[in-house]
């Protein structure tokens, strides 16, 4: 602490300092002075919180959209259900709009227009990210459902099982295994995209780094620190996903 004050004064007075002294001062003021590490920690907690909420929302939306769209596409010709056709049209618009506009623009519209009166930036952010992720997840899941050999559906139906049961016991379990890498990719993108909610005032990790940087007039250490934390989180995520995937594949290698 005393060392920090003394060396900082030396740097401020433009006296000659060693590299170690410079590093010590900048690092200390970026992470330790005034318990600033607490800001980062709170930021990480918010980041994970938003990620999990958005993930849940995205997966639920994704499954609903994918299943409805697949069911629509697999109807027998001449037996098309008009309600299903209408819903399918709406869902197509949803996917098109969400995939066709930048995440940042969606956040600004949600945070500053639609929910302009809300002060709960974190929830607005999680909602926006979830809706966004849902559109991508839906296409991933739909791809997975379509990748399962059509003969599987035919075999299930030829045994007299209905569409829902065949989907549930035969097609979906095989689809999940096929889409896990792509889904993991989407989760990682989502985790990093939470950094965007700082633009509407969500106090997550990047928000913390930026406030420290502007207070000290020193951007390098706060942003490097944030980058390293994001990297560690993603690595942790990837590792957990790898374990899950290996467990699912266990049935292939008997």
């Amino acid at each position: 602490m005393e060392q920090f004050v003394a060396w900082k004064a030396m740097m401020a007075a433009n006296e000659p300092t060693t590299l170690w002294q410079q590093f010590y001062v900048l690092f200390y003021q970026a992470f330790i002075e005034n318990d600033r590490w607490l800001q980062y920690l709170n930021g990480v907690v918010t980041t994970l919180y938003v990620t999990i909420l958005a993930l849940l929302l995205g997966v639920i939306l994704g499954i609903i959209v994918a299943v409805i769209r697949t069911a629509h596409d697999q109807q027998r010709p001449g037996h098309r259900n008009p309600v299903l056709g209408f819903i399918n049209g709406l869902l197509k618009i949803y996917v098109t709009v969400i995939r066709g506009t930048p995440m940042m623009v969606q956040l600004m519209i949600m945070g500053l227009v639609i929910f302009a009166s809300s002060r709960n930036f974190v929830m607005v952010g999680a909602l926006t990210l979830g809706i966004n992720s849902g559109a991508y997840t839906a296409e991933i899941i739909r791809g997975g459902l379509m990748s399962v050999d059509h003969g599987q559906m035919e075999a299930g139906r030829s045994l007299g099982m209905n569409y829902t049961d065949t989907m549930r016991f035969v097609v979906v379990p095989q689809a999940i295994k096929a889409i896990l890498p792509a889904l993991g990719n989407e989760f990682i993108v989502l985790l990093k995209d939470t950094s965007l909610i700082s633009v509407i005032g969500g106090k997550e990790l990047l928000y913390a780094a930026r406030s420290v940087a502007s207070r000290n007039y020193e951007p390098m250490y706060p942003y490097l620190g944030a980058a390293i934390i994001y990297l560690l989180l993603v690595m942790l995520f990837t590792w957990l996903l790898g374990i899950f995937e290996r467990r699912l594949r266990a049935s292939d290698r008997r």
């Binding site: 035919e154 030829s158 045994l159």
Partner: protein
């Protein structure tokens, strides 16, 4: 048992079935032969509505299954189907493959289904494979399991769609043996195949299809030794 009236089926501009009428009696073994693209498989797949006919009517045990009000799931429970590529469920054990449908459709409870499955497995000599996964079996074993899976629903008719075409030659015999045994037990069978020996031995009636129509039909003796149509003669000359 199955009455087909003036059945047509088109895929886009391509008309695959051009008006097929046929009657299949209970206990009858009917074999469909013909060149590829003649509509044999499409005809068979129309019988349980895996393909929706473009026009025409199919009546199964007095009930029109092409009618919109018909519950096709109930009908399919009585029509077993065996596919060229087996289509076993790779994510389940053999026992689960066989018992899934009877349990889910409410035909049997789990214990009954497993008992039935093990008896059927014994009948085809694969009782030791109950807990294996499809990936661990040979093609011939997979197809025998697929037959057992269909039989476990206690169907009244079995449809076979080229059941031996995807098999190694040395595994064809074991599948045909199961089918012959099934024929002996009195099962109604409709079979699309290129195995002329099997057709000759098992069939009560052979249908020769070409270009979306049944060109000629008769007992195996009539078709194989004394075909009337030139097209049938040409086809048999090539395959026999």
């Amino acid at each position: 048992m199955i009455d087909v009236k003036n059945l047509t089926k088109s895929f886009g501009d391509l008309q695959v079935l051009k008006g097929v009428s046929e009657h299949i009696n209970k206990g009858e073994r009917v074999v469909l032969i013909g060149p590829s693209g003649s509509g044999k498989s499409t005809f068979l797949r129309c019988l349980n509505l895996l393909e929706t006919p473009t026009s025409g009517e199919i009546i199964f045990e007095g009930q029109s299954i092409t009618d919109d009000k018909c519950d096709i799931n109930k009908i399919r429970q009585k029509m077993g189907m065996v596919f060229q590529h087996f289509n076993l469920f790779p994510n389940m054990t053999i026992l689960k493959n066989i018992t899934l449908a009877p349990v889910r459709t409410g035909l049997m409870n789990k214990e009954q289904a497993e008992k039935e499955a093990r008896e059927l497995l014994k009948r085809v000599g694969l009782e030791d494979k109950a807990d294996s996964y499809p990936a661990q079996l040979s093609g011939g074993q997979k197809q025998r399991i697929a037959i057992v899976r269909a039989l476990c629903m206690k169907p009244e008719v079995m449809l076979f769609d080229e059941p031996t075409s995807a098999l190694d030659p040395e595994m064809v015999g074991e599948v045909l043996d199961v089918m012959k045994e099934l024929a002996k037990s009195g099962m109604t069978m409709v079979c699309v195949t290129h195995e002329m020996g099997f057709a000759r031995e098992v069939a009560d009636r052979v249908l020769f299809m070409d270009e979306g129509k049944i060109l000629e039909e008769g007992t195996p003796g009539e078709i194989f030794t004394n075909p009337k149509e030139q097209r049938t003669k040409d086809f048999l000359n090539k395959v026999l």
